[in-house]
């Protein structure tokens, strides 16, 4: 609190003006005019150590005079504090780009242009990013119907439009060969498209095209009730679905200002850490598979199947579990479930050791991974890296430690950090994180708190089935909640959790109705992947595959 007061004083002194600070739902908001945005952002980054720009969001309010709102979510590693900056604009107004201060703003601003039609001044590449190039209209505006599809007749031509000056290098002059990889290339395991100009075997310049899996998550969230959004969140990062459920439910709970019972917290931690393990399994296994080590993939996948079995026991689904509800969990865990998990932990320790022996000192693995895609801490921060990719550069930032939730502060675990920030370090960090996750799960499983698995607020949680069929009050509550809907108070909230790939943030705006007014996801992959063309310059094509595997890009959360 005092740091915000200090910040306000500093700002007022520096700009000789009274700034408006608001506080909504634990977060501090600074409202600005568009004219002063650049100078304030520059000042905040340089003198107030707000070195991360986590997310840029647009919100549409058709009934207001200034229809659009653009929010910048800042984060300071030094002070561990967050600040949201807001500017209000009309449709035809131009906003100065933040891209020269925070490079990570590049794609976020393009996304806002794509979704709302707001233009950013001096942005070098103001083009659609998620929807296709023949798309007309701006889908996240409130007047665009959610189910109005527009067909694409021909896919986008090979283009190199991401150069700073907007001009593609003339490849005919320089003897460069254009090479298109994807979007259905097996090594991209997903729907990524890379366009590269090759100088022999080396990549001279690269450009990426995303949006091939843009499933309109944010629009879907606006047309569904709060609890029905949970299955959609499953399909964001489908390698570790429960983490997205937890992140979303945590956001809604923060907006509702409720705390979930200890047992639900413990179950959420277990689900999160299990999914962290299986996410890293897919990442390492698939990366090994791409480099030709098929054994590594099969070996790792055996353990993933074991976790699937645990999920199946818990809720019946293997991959997309949707186990959390706003207010707690969906049901009581089955008998002996925690014992099964402890058994799995024992096996998993052996599994990690196997992967370790297969890969860590494997000569081919080392030669293919070391010194590939090196990035230093400063650059990583400016690109908005979080998670294992950031920690591999040596910065110890893990939200489980710095902004602990669900009792992570009382658990004994360590955060591995790398030194060089190359693909090999990312692998090592992931491997060690798996070990730490096993450690966390064991600690939680050994003393699971007693009590209920969900809160019992009749305006938030559906009553149990036996109540619904057994007495009139339960039936009424059930009816009211289904018809009336879960209605959080008016407000907004940004909540972040440490997902397998990094900070998974949800920015939720509620207008008091039964559906979210706006739900924006800050996917960890999105900023990481936009640095790809920059990181791969000068490397070989085969290194592109290594780098892609080590970044662990999941198309589902990249394109949403």
């Amino acid at each position: 609190m005092s740091s915000i007061k200090q910040l306000k004083q500093d700002l007022n002194q520096r700009f000789k003006k009274e700034f408006v600070f608001n506080q909504i739902c634990h977060s501090h908001i600074l409202e600005l005019e568009t004219g002063e945005l650049t100078s304030v952002l520059q000042y905040l980054k340089k003198y107030q150590s707000f070195d991360f720009l986590m997310c840029v969001t647009g919100v549409h309010y058709p009934e207001r005079e200034k229809e659009f709102e653009v929010c910048y979510e800042l984060f300071s590693v030094k002070k561990i504090s967050r600040l949201r900056i807001k500017v209000f604009v009309k449709e035809e107004e131009v906003i100065p780009t933040a891209q020269f201060i925070y490079p990570t703003a590049d794609w976020f601003e393009r996304e806002i242009y794509d979704m709302y039609g707001l233009k950013f001044k001096d942005h070098p590449n103001m083009k659609r990013i998620l929807t296709h190039h023949q798309f007309k209209g701006y889908p996240l505006r409130k007047d665009y119907p959610a189910d109005l599809q527009q067909h694409l007749s021909e896919s986008l031509e090979f283009s190199m439009d991401n150069e700073p000056d907007g001009k593609a290098p003339d490849f005919k002059d320089k003897d460069l060969i254009p090479l298109n990889i994807g979007p259905s290339h097996p090594a991209t395991h997903g729907t990524l498209r890379i366009m590269a100009l090759m100088d022999g075997e080396k990549i001279y310049r690269a450009n990426v095209e995303i949006g091939y899996l843009h499933r309109c998550f944010e629009k879907m969230a606006e047309v569904h009730p709060y609890n029905q959004v949970i299955p959609y969140t499953d399909r964001l990062n489908y390698c570790s679905s429960p983490m997205n459920n937890v992140g979303y439910c945590k956001t809604v709970e923060e907006l509702l200002d409720v705390e979930i019972p200890p047992k639900a917290q413990a179950m959420r931690i277990i689900l999160c850490e299990l999914s962290r393990i299986i996410d890293h399994i897919v990442c390492i296994g698939a990366a090994a598979f791409d480099l030709g080590a098929l054994t590594g993939f099969f070996q790792a996948f055996t353990y993933r199947e074991k976790v699937y079995t645990l999920f199946e026991k818990l809720c019946g689904a293997r991959l997309t579990v949707s186990m959390t509800r706003v207010g707690g969990m969906a049901n009581e865990p089955p008998k002996n479930w925690f014992k099964d998990i402890l058994q799995f932990c024992k096996e998993m320790k052996g599994g990690i050791k196997d992967i370790d022996t297969l890969l860590t000192y494997n000569k081919i693995w080392m030669q293919r991974n070391q010194k590939v895609g090196v990035i230093d801490t400063e650059q990583a921060i400016s690109w908005g890296y979080t998670g294992p990719c950031l920690r591999s550069t040596g910065l110890n930032l893990d939200l489980r430690k710095v902004e602990p939730y669900y009792g992570y502060e009382s658990l004994d675990f360590e955060i591995p950090v790398g030194t060089t920030g190359d693909a090999y370090d990312r692998y090592l960090v992931r491997l060690e994180e798996m070990r730490q996750s096993v450690k966390i799960i064991e600690q939680v499983c050994k003393n699971v708190p007693a009590g209920d698995y969900t809160i019992r607020d009749k305006d938030i949680v559906l009553p149990e089935k036996k109540e619904v069929y057994g007495n009139i009050e339960g039936l009424m509550n059930h009816f009211m909640l289904v018809i009336h809907g879960l209605r959080p108070p008016k407000g907004e909230c940004y909540s972040a959790t440490e997902a397998a790939n990094g900070e998974l943030g949800f920015y939720l705006v509620s207008d008091g109705g039964p559906k979210p007014y706006r739900l924006k996801v800050r996917p960890p992959c999105f900023p990481i992947y936009q640095s790809f063309p920059h990181c791969i310059q000068g490397f070989l094509t085969s290194d592109a595959i290594t780098l892609l595997g080590s970044m662990n890009i999941i198309a589902g959360e990249l394109d949403r």
Partner: protein, 177 residues
Amino acid sequence: MEEKKISLSNDKFQNLESPFFTSRMDRIVAWSRRNSLWPMTYGTACCGIEIMSVLGPRYDLARFGAEVVRFSPRQSDLMIVAGTITEKMAPIISRVYEQMIEPKYVIAMGACASSGGFYRAYHVLQGVDKVIPVDVYVPGCPPTPEAVIDGVMAIQKMITENRPRPYKDQWKPGAYR
């Protein structure tokens, strides 16, 4: 000769004097096609992870004669569309399908590939059958590996019986959008 008679338990071969047997040509072709499907997994989303399980150590699709996974359409005859196909992806998947060599089959794996699933949204193709002809639809979101194996076996049965495929024969690209 005595030994051979014992090993051939089927009645048809009981009086087999020579190492030949007769059958219809189409049956022989169907038999070999059925047992050597080369699938191409067009994995785009969550179902792509589940198809890894199908091919992985526990479920192992190789047991059913669909072992050689090819990522090149020119080398495969079964396309498993695993995941959501968006409007942006639609021209690409139809191009990849055209590159496959006859006879070719398509499995739409999961709700999204079959009908768009719960993504009734502005950028999602409402079923991959809008752009390419589909033989088998596997329900689920994502389907369990057992369901996918069942889908592959349904294709195998179709091939064995030489079942007519009017939806494919009368297919006109772009007519069903």
